[in-house]
């Protein structure tokens, strides 16, 4: 319990750091571009939103400390202001909420799939060591991990979209359809998700495979695995119960830590496929200098990553009896 509380404390601290970063960045940049943008689009903003953004960006006559605390207060009440250019006058919260489900679905599900599949392959790969396969596979996967996400997405678009016309590669669903919980719509959504999902899968899976393989190899050299052999336990039980159970522990935390990176890559994939999720929205905001939207999205992404790490920590604690209890 104390372990979880400590981690929680750390995350609150990190969130605060992200908030403070958000607060100071526009003020540190030459000319504070945020002020200029807000001034430009003043007309479409509601008075409440304007107040929020004054504290956020440093417009107006309050002193720095007062601005800071107003800003923190606003964030605590989920007041992020309104979009300046992407959807002028619309509350940032509203815009973000619309985009979240798409990203959650695409990135969330695909990452979990990649993790599970990659881990399984890594476990088997380490278990069956020796032979030509073992010396060829790792370099191949290593190379797979350095392929830029956006580039492989483009290549897949070229092959499956442009040349073969097998799969769609624009947007989250065919815009001529009306959204609804019917089979046709859902089918269409899935069809549009195949290419982006596949891109994300093949670029991330290499790392999971390598990670798991390497920790498995180290674990297989442990005495307790030798002991399990000595006890005459069936191979599968040794592989899973003795080796994998232990090997996966460091990977769980690593998995969560890298979600920060997965999210970054998802941004690029959403861009390439015009997939209207959170990442795509962030890039729209950047291109339009829509600072309030940008900041809110950054906070959302950071918060999501922190949450994932916390969950991974809790799961690790549940699986590893050594972290429970006193520490």
């Amino acid at each position: 319990m104390r372990f979880v509380l400590r981690r929680l404390g750390f995350f609150v601290l990190t969130l605060w750091a992200a908030l403070t970063l958000n607060f100071f960045l526009p003020r540190l940049m030459p000319g504070n571009p945020a002020i200029a943008m807000v001034a430009l689009h003043r007309g479409s903003l509601s008075p409440q939103a304007l107040k929020v953004m004054e504290a956020q960006f440093g417009i107006g006559h309050q002193n720095l400390a007062a601005q800071y605390f107003s800003y923190l207060g606003n964030v605590a009440r989920f007041k992020f202001g309104e979009s300046l250019t992407t959807q002028p006058g619309v509350s940032v919260g509203r815009i973000v909420l619309d985009a979240i489900p798409w990203t959650l679905g695409l990135v969330g599900l695909t990452t979990i799939l990649a993790f599970l599949l990659g881990t399984a392959i890594g476990i088997l790969g380490a278990w069956r060591r020796g032979g030509r396969l073992d010396s060829i596979m790792p370099p191949i996967f290593v190379i797979m991990t350095v392929i830029p996400y956006f580039w492989i997405g483009l290549i897949l678009i070229l092959v499956f979209g442009v040349k073969l016309h097998w799969l769609p590669y624009f947007f989250t669903y065919n815009i001529t359809l009306t959204p609804g919980l019917n089979l046709a719509f859902i089918g269409n959504v899935l069809e549009h998700a195949i290419l982006p999902s596949f891109t994300l899968l093949i670029t991330t899976i290499g790392t999971w495979i390598l990670t798991m393989r390497n920790t498995m190899i180290t674990t297989l050299a442990e005495d307790y695995v030798r002991m399990a052999r000595a006890k005459g336990l069936p191979g599968r039980r040794i592989m899973l119960d003795y080796a994998a159970r232990n090997a996966i522990l460091p990977n769980l935390t690593g998995f969560a830590m890298s979600l920060g990176f997965v999210v970054g890559g998802a941004i690029l994939i959403e861009l390439v496929f015009n997939y209207e999720g959170v990442g795509w929205l962030l890039l729209q905001a950047v291109n339009n200098n829509d600072y309030p939207l940008e900041q809110a999205l950054f906070l959302l992404i950071t918060g999501a990553v922190l949450l994932a790490i916390l969950i991974a920590d809790v799961v690790t604690a549940m699986l590893d009896p050594r972290t429970r209890g006193a520490r």
Binding site: P139, F141, V146, Y149, L210, P250, L283, T302
Partner: protein, 334 residues
């Protein structure tokens, strides 16, 4: 498993660092590197010997050398000015234009060749500066211990956990695009924390070793001990850190350029992709414009990653391909 406080470290594994790529640590199982007391020079000799004997390392090193040569002497290889928009537009490959031309009439081959230098500059720049910062902070934290360690580690961990690519995007957006130098600074800022943790962990394990105790007893000052005794021992981890950060840098920077947050007027692989995408290269049949720069990124990234992976194997023999005693092992018929 090397557990430090706060975010349990990515246990060690294979490598990558591009946005979206789960980035893992370097050496598996915590088995990091040669025991204390090995000087920098001996490490270097060991490394060159190791590179020659490991095929992954040779390929990686070969690629890297190739790119370095191209970056240093672009004029020797490509005879056109990469920015000159004087040729026919969107031409296919021919003898006068090895890779064809862009939609603006620039020679693609020249662009690729001249585009190598900025990429390598960023890679080396970030690799060096991130490693130096990581080393200073990581080792200082380990050596000073106590409250200093707590503060520095907390600072490192917070920066580590904040998602790097989104942060990069936000910073770059305020800057309205970044030149090469700015890219180096900004990418370094988000990358150093990762290797700082590993260096701190290793410095911690060295802290109480005898040869350091001897230095302390001799009366040497802390700075001396840090610079002259501890750091040379960590050579192999420092090299690994350089390679990792260089890899990150290549991928991060080209991604930023692709989005348009780099300086679109410079000629670099990332910016080439930006222009290609903006001109719908695939739809208009200029596939090479997209394929070739991407392949170069993969090749350079692979060079760093292979070298890194090879160092992993060299440092932790357990990972090497398993030898078996062929033919001699006693086998029984079933």
């Amino acid at each position: 498993m090397a557990t430090l406080e706060a975010p349990g470290g990515p246990g060690n594994t294979g490598e990558s660092g591009q946005p979206g790529q789960p980035a893992m640590a370097l050496t598996p199982g915590g088995g990091l590197m040669p025991q204390g007391g090995i000087s920098g020079a001996r490490s270097l000799r060991r490394m060159t010997r190791a590179i020659r004997s490991n095929s992954k390392a040779t390929v990686g090193a070969g690629l890297l050398v190739l790119f370095i040569l191209v970056a240093l002497f672009p004029g020797v290889i490509a005879h056109d000015d990469p920015s000159a928009e004087i040729y026919g537009r969107a031409l296919g490959p021919s003898s006068s234009h090895l890779l064809g031309t862009t939609a603006f009439g620039q020679d693609l081959f020249a662009q690729i060749i001249y585009g190598t230098r900025p990429v390598l500059l960023i890679a080396v720049g970030v690799g060096l500066s991130a490693t130096i910062i990581a080393m200073l902070i990581g080792v200082a934290a380990a050596y000073l211990g106590g409250a200093w360690d707590g503060v520095l580690s907390l600072f490192t961990d917070v920066l580590l956990v904040i998602p790097a690519f989104p942060l990069l995007i936000v910073i770059a957006s305020y800057l309205h695009g970044a030149s090469t130098l700015v890219l180096i600074a900004v990418v370094t800022a988000v990358s150093w924390s990762y290797t700082a943790r590993q260096l701190r962990a290793q410095a911690l394990s060295l802290r109480n070793r005898d040869f350091l105790e001897a230095a302390r007893v001799r009366g040497e000052r802390s700075i001396y001990i840090i610079l002259v005794e501890i750091i040379p021992t960590m050579t192999s981890l420092l090299v690994a850190s350089f390679l990792t950060n260089a890899l990150y840098a290549v991928l991060f920077s080209s991604s930023l350029q692709f989005i348009g947050l780099g300086n679109p007027n410079t000629v670099s692989w990332g910016t080439m992709l930006y222009w290609a995408e903006n001109n719908e290269a695939f739809q208009t049949g200029q596939a090479l414009w997209i394929i070739v720069p991407g392949l170069c990124i993969v090749a350079l990234g692979a060079a760093f990653a292979l070298l890194n992976y090879a160092f992993d194997e060299i440092g932790n023999p357990a990972l090497r391909p398993v030898r078996s005693i062929r033919g001699k092992r006693v086998k029984r018929p079933r």
